[in-house]
Subunit: 469 residues, 2 copies
């Protein structure tokens, strides 16, 4: 087997990550500090992710909007908790149109404040509720230690903001987004078996009365927060005067939620599935699901490969023909592995003589002959199997990383090299702070069977603890 073009992830995981980004041509640094250039292959993955998430958001009844990039500084100062969280991260425009601005403009770190302002205008009566809005946009938060896709000064994301007539409706909607949008997408499309649960008071989003999170376990056994949804109670509505007249004609503050996920998910995909040969992309979000590779210059191979591409394309498979026979086969094979394309179909004269092509699943690595006249019909099913096998493999890895802890010290130990699980009643906020001193945090609090708790103080909950990105 040819030497892998990337560093061994078991030796140096951060360097492996950088190698995959560069060699698979996913992204590179931009000219300004902490910014990122997303290259065609990386962006195509993001487009697939975006489409899958967007479909689920619309199914959950939210509508897309677009708010401006630039926000007057006074808006940001309106919500005290907001200022505290974002002020050191802001990028500020002081000159525009050739003149010093009377009031500086901030590049949105989120659009929260503008959503608040306009939602207040759009909501009058209970008939206007629920109001469910979402935005896909770029945001800027100045980063001193940037890392492509995981932490960049500018990133792409979606942020949802909704207003409801009562607490129960807001709570149900935050839960629905958490489960039907994020959890469903992450497991079914990204094939990442996330831990789901509530955030502890320490880890909760500022201003939220409850935060749900999806936490993935990467191949270095560190946790990555992939999506969050928040119940904001009436805090946000009070700060922005979001009120409505209820059915009894009395004025009430609305109950709001917010929720988001970002290009960080691309980083999660790389780190949850990648291996020593490079990236591995689950078929559901793969820009190229199958590469049909002409092994070497041969008229018959080129003709059969072309037919195969047409047949696969007709079946809705995202397929790419590789007939670059002027490049050695080995180098091309390594490159398709590096790019993590789920399925490779090699078409060469030797196999064709027996009516076969060679099929290679990127997740398993092995190759096997397959009858050329049956392969196109078989591929959609193979891709489905591959998708669920990737989820199963990641689930085994995740579960194998978990150690049940009976004391805070055991939880710290487990969390330093993998994932610890400890009864929340045993850990508590004091134990949580002790873990933080060791670089381990509570990722989420869930039921023992892994499901979502109804309430914070439900008996029998467990805390999932780990180091985190």
């Amino acid at each position: 087997m040819a030497k892998s073009p990337v560093t061994d992830p078991n030796e140096d995981f951060p360097r492996w990550y950088q190698d995959v980004l560069a060699k698979a041509e996913l992204a590179e640094g931009g000219p300004a500090r902490g910014t990122m250039v997303i290259r065609p292959y990386g962006y195509a993955i993001w487009e697939r992710i975006q489409a899958e998430v967007d479909t689920r958001i619309k199914r959950a009844g939210a509508e897309n909007v677009y708010f401006p990039l630039l926000i007057p500084e006074s808006y940001i100062n309106r919500e005290a908790e907001h200022v505290e969280g974002f002020s050191p991260e802001l990028a500020v425009v002081t000159v525009a149109g050739g003149k010093e601005l009377a009031e500086p403009l901030v590049i949105r770190p989120t659009s929260e404040t503008v959503f608040g302002e306009h939602m207040a205008r759009w909501i009058n009566s209970y008939r206007d509720l629920p109001l469910r809005l979402n935005q896909w946009a770029n945001v800027v938060r100045w980063e001193l230690r940037p890392r492509l896709f995981l932490r960049t000064s500018e990133f792409l994301w979606q942020e949802g903001h909704t207003a409801h007539a009562d607490r129960a409706d807001a709570a149900a909607y935050a839960r629905r987004i958490h489960l039907d949008v994020y959890h469903d997408f992450l497991t079914k499309a990204l094939a990442i078996p996330v831990f789901i649960g509530r955030k502890s008071a320490v880890e909760r989003f500022a201003g939220a009365i409850n935060t749900f999170a999806c936490e993935g376990i990467m191949r270095d056994r560190k946790a990555l927060q992939l999506a969050t949804s928040h119940e904001l109670g009436q805090n946000f509505a009070r700060a922005f005067d979001i009120t409505f007249t209820d059915q009894a004609d009395s004025e009430q503050h609305a109950w709001t939620t917010s929720w988001g996920a970002s290009t960080r998910m691309v980083g999660g995909l790389i780190m949850a599935h990648g291996d020593a040969r490079g990236l591995r992309v689950p078929p559901a979000v793969a820009p190229i699901q199958a590469a049909v590779v002409v092994v070497r210059e041969d008229e018959e191979s080129i003709a059969r490969a072309g037919e195969l591409v047409a047949a696969l394309s007709e079946r809705g498979v995202r397929v790419k023909l590789d007939a670059a026979v002027h490049v050695g086969f080995g180098r091309r094979a390594t490159d398709w592995e590096l790019k993590g394309v789920p399925l490779r179909i090699d078409v060469g004269p030797r196999e064709l003589k027996d009516g076969n092509v060679t099929l290679m699943r990127r997740d398993e690595g092995g190759s096997r002959p397959f009858a050329i006249d049956q392969v196109a019909a078989a591929v959609p099913r193979i891709l489905e199997e591959l998708q669920s096998d990737m989820l199963a493999e990641a689930t085994r890895f995740r579960d194998g990383s978990v150690v049940d802890a009976g004391t805070v010290a055991e939880a710290a130990e487990a969390g330093k090299s993998g994932v610890g699980r400890i009864p929340w009643a045993l850990l508590g906020t004091d134990g949580e702070r002790a873990l933080l001193d060791e670089g381990v945090s509570v990722r989420c609090i869930q039921r023992e069977d892994g499901s979502l708790p109804e309430a914070e103080d439900e008996p029998g909950l467990v805390a999932i603890v780990a180091r985190a990105y």
Copy 2:
């Protein structure tokens, strides 16, 4: 007929435009100067536009990428013509992360300079060509006289940048984008019968050796430039050192193109199709193609309307149920007209008795009874007819606005109140400057039959002249 909720466009077109934006809930001003909040209905139209254009861009072989929002000031200063064009429009970040920046960062007015920088890195040999990239993003150009969708300080757009091995390939690609992406989209999806042609040297994009433009004629008979594509020769490649080794192993500068279209197209849609009752949206880009309206509280009507919505939805029609019977029928009918939904299907007890619903085409205005058990099957065909009728109507309007001029004075006269057409040989650059003094500009230069010239100096070309947005 109820009073229209919008100003009569024949009386005050600009005010009519503002009314439509506000009353149809398309967009409103944002908190910072010249910025825009795109509301759900307006954004849904933009999403349809984006999807249609993106499909065509991908079909033309370009791949999407994402470059950073913030660009070091030195990048912008690199291309002299660039600076001249954009400098007064720039928004500049001088503070970030709580500190004064050593080098100010400019918010991209386009990503041209960063494309140039990275394309130079990615291109080595002729094998890397053509390189065809596109980006969907927000850009900022400070506007002193903003007008929603038409001219805003921040707008959403796509910009394509490609590099080719020779002039002919670059020229063919700029032409392909102009015809297969923009012209095809504008006529087939937006139903706007644009004038196509080359820009005169006076109107050409700075740094381009040729600019193709699509010019729509609005209902006030002013022209709106809806999309442009440029051949940049080797100018851009020289400024950014975009070179490649050709097959003879000698180093060459690449030949580049760039091309773009923006949220301005939403403004074009409003002004090309709107009428005294509000917006009219062509089915291809309509977020709601058909509204099924329950006329009044009636169990049978509600049941039948629900079935109809399901049947239409199954046929792929984007349909919405309006069962808000607590609001008067007249008000709801006016609102669907205002929003420009192509087809309205009213379901009420009187018509149901005869097995009918009432069908109303927004473009024609009249209503007619239709058998309820046949309507779902008929709607897709009716929508297709409606789409091509809208194009035909807009074409008649456009053609009716054109006056053939035999002198520069006649062309100026025609251009001031509509569209003038004059032999380009007769007008020339001197005539063009005389027109400009009258507020009339050359929108494009085309063949007499309306098709795209091969060369600037082709005999028999005509100039299309008008006032423009």
